[in-house]
């Protein structure tokens, strides 16, 4: 049964006089992979940042599972199950890869001051569970051999993978991915999307910005096309790909 997870209603965000996002409305339902494409600077990442509470929206409202999340701060939005993997990986550089993953763990009693000091037994089991889950995801992303290396030593592509791994680690209901395949080698990019499809079968939903259109269009169920802060086109990937206005957006009027 499909339910509306994320409902964006007339969201605008401007920086000075520039409307990066200009009155966007869209719905994201559960159990699907949603795509968001558009040329550089069309406002895709700004839209994600606004949804996640990193930017404050100037107009409009955002609902997640029928709850208004417009003025919530990022950690409250995370608690509701909406998780974001950044476009430029934001890793905890001096922590090792495994610790980076574990920070994303949810409902861990050891994250609390008093529990971490005086009730250490109460979270040991959870810690081991989370570590096992983290290793499973790292194996999937082919990062398991680097689990104990500092995240700052990873290559660009590996950093992207770890950023995705952190997102998966957070057991999200809806995971927002900002160009997950950029800088990742082509084969791995495809197997990453195959894995995303598998996870989607288990009920996880994805909303993905991606410039590698051949990948996204193979896997997405529905694609939104953004240009100059507005949604200009939406539809199933084959329909969008054949629409002449889609080429206008990317290639200009010529």
């Amino acid at each position: 049964m499909e339910e509306i997870l994320l409902k964006i209603k007339g969201i605008s965000k401007h920086f000075g006089g520039v409307y990066a996002v200009n009155g966007i409305s869209l719905d994201i339902t559960s159990g699907k992979i949603w795509g968001l494409v558009g040329p550089n600077g069309s406002g895709k990442s700004t839209l994600f940042n606004t949804v996640l509470g990193i930017h404050q929206a100037d107009e409009g409202n955002i609902y997640f599972k029928d709850r208004c999340i417009t003025n919530l701060v990022p950690h409250q939005i995370f608690d509701l199950g909406l998780v974001y993997a950044f476009q430029v990986p934001r890793l905890f550089q001096t922590l090792n890869v495994l610790d980076n993953m574990l920070v994303a763990g949810r409902e861990h009693k050891g994250d609390k001051l008093l529990f971490s000091l005086f009730f250490r037994k109460s979270w040991q089991k959870k810690e081991i569970e989370l570590a096992e889950k983290a290793m499973e995801i790292l194996r999937l992303l082919k990062l398991d051999h680097l689990a104990l290396s500092p995240a700052g030593e990873l290559s660009g592509g590996q950093s992207k993978l770890l950023e995705l791994g952190k997102g998966l680690m957070a057991s999200p209901t809806l995971l927002l991915l900002d160009e997950p395949a950029a800088g990742v080698n082509p084969n791995l990019g495809r197997s990453m999307f195959e894995r995303i499809e598998d996870l989607c079968q288990t009920g996880l939903s994805f909303f993905i910005i991606e410039h590698r259109l051949e990948l996204l269009f193979d896997f997405a169920h529905w694609v939104y096309v953004m240009d100059k802060g507005k949604i200009v086109l939406e539809g199933k990937p084959p329909e969008v790909a054949e629409d002449p206005s889609f080429y206008h957006v990317y290639l200009g009027d010529e």
Binding site: H75, F78, F92, Q93, L95, L102, H108, L117, A131, K166
Partner: protein
């Protein structure tokens, strides 16, 4: 002067300064909170201890009260700045330390104002020798140091320690992973202040006298040198730094009597501190001991299990 007493005095001060540097280390080293007003929380601990011990409260209650008072005030001082960039916190607490010093200086009814006030030692045995008094102080200080160290080792090798390091590395990313940075920072700041307050109480009862001039900003910077030199985000480093800076301090004082220099070695020492900080930051920014990894049982169990499986496969 009895050379043994001199050495014992050195040991006590290393212990007290180790407590101070541990308290800065949890704030700056692990959580990235640049506390340039450490001296304020030492002062709160010292004055709370003094005021309470002068009305005959038992010493351990005075020490605990000093720590709690420091924690509460630290919490409220940090509150307005926790959501801002870390340099604002540095400015606010630096100013707070100075304000506090001026208040205790000008308010005569608080522990004698500018004249200072004598402090009773925590444990005094009638007719005991200086050596015995020193030994008692060493025991008291090192018990407190051991407890603080244990507490911080537990804390930094727990999921909590991992979260505060993550917030230090990238606060936006940590926030996006559901960590309330303001809450974590306030807690760490209160905890760091509590430990500094405890150290302040010990400091006051050991010197048996306090006045506002003892709590000059230089004390803060001495503690900073200890942390930067020893290695931020490493509790052993904080101890090492405290020992080294104290050794240095003693060295300069002894050298004063033997070496003739155009300037006072006591002042030269500060110049050397400055050069030392620049050199450490340029050539070994991680300090003498580098950051320790988060050690929890979980990580170990995963890797022990995996190695085992691999060996079995071979």
């Amino acid at each position: 002067m009895d050379p043994l007493v001199y050495i014992l005095d050195f040991i006590v001060l290393v212990g007290i300064f180790s407590i101070f540097s541990l308290s800065l280390n949890i704030e700056f080293g692990f959580a990235g909170l640049a506390n340039f007003g450490k001296v304020a929380f030492v002062l709160i601990g010292a004055y709370t201890y003094t005021l309470l011990s002068n009305i005959n409260v038992p010493f351990f209650l005075c020490l605990i009260a000093g720590a709690i008072a420091s924690a509460i005030i630290g919490f409220f001082v940090s509150l307005p700045t926790l959501k801002l960039r870390e340099d604002y916190l540095a400015i606010v607490v630096l100013a707070f330390g100075e304000i506090l010093k001026i208040i205790v200086k000008s308010e005569g009814w608080i522990a004698g104002g500018v004249w200072g006030t004598p402090v009773y030692p925590a444990i005094s045995i009638a007719g005991s020798s200086t050596r015995l008094d020193m030994a008692i102080n060493i025991a008291l200080v090192y018990v407190c140091l051991f407890l603080s160290f244990l507490l911080l080792q537990l804390l930094t090798n727990s999921p909590y320690g991992r979260v505060i390091r993550a917030i230090r590395e990238d606060e936006v990313a940590a926030e996006a992973l559901g960590k309330n940075r303001a809450k974590y920072r306030a807690q760490v700041f209160a905890l760091g202040s509590a430990i500094a307050g405890l150290g302040g109480g010990l400091f006051a009862q050991y010197l048996q006298f306090i006045d506002p001039y003892m709590f000059a900003p230089m004390l803060t910077f001495t503690i900073w040198i200890m942390v930067l030199l020893g290695g931020p985000a490493n509790n052993w480093g904080a101890l090492l730094g405290a020992g080294m800076v104290q050794l240095f301090d003693r060295g300069a004082n002894i050298a004063k009597d033997y070496v003739t220099l155009p300037i006072d070695p006591g002042n030269l020492q500060y110049i050397i501190y400055g050069v030392l900080i620049i050199l450490v930051l340029l050539y070994r920014p991680q300090g003498l001991l580098k950051e320790s990894q988060v050690k929890t049982k979980a990580g170990e169990s995963i890797f022990n299990g995996r190695d085992f499986a691999k060996n079995k496969g071979d």
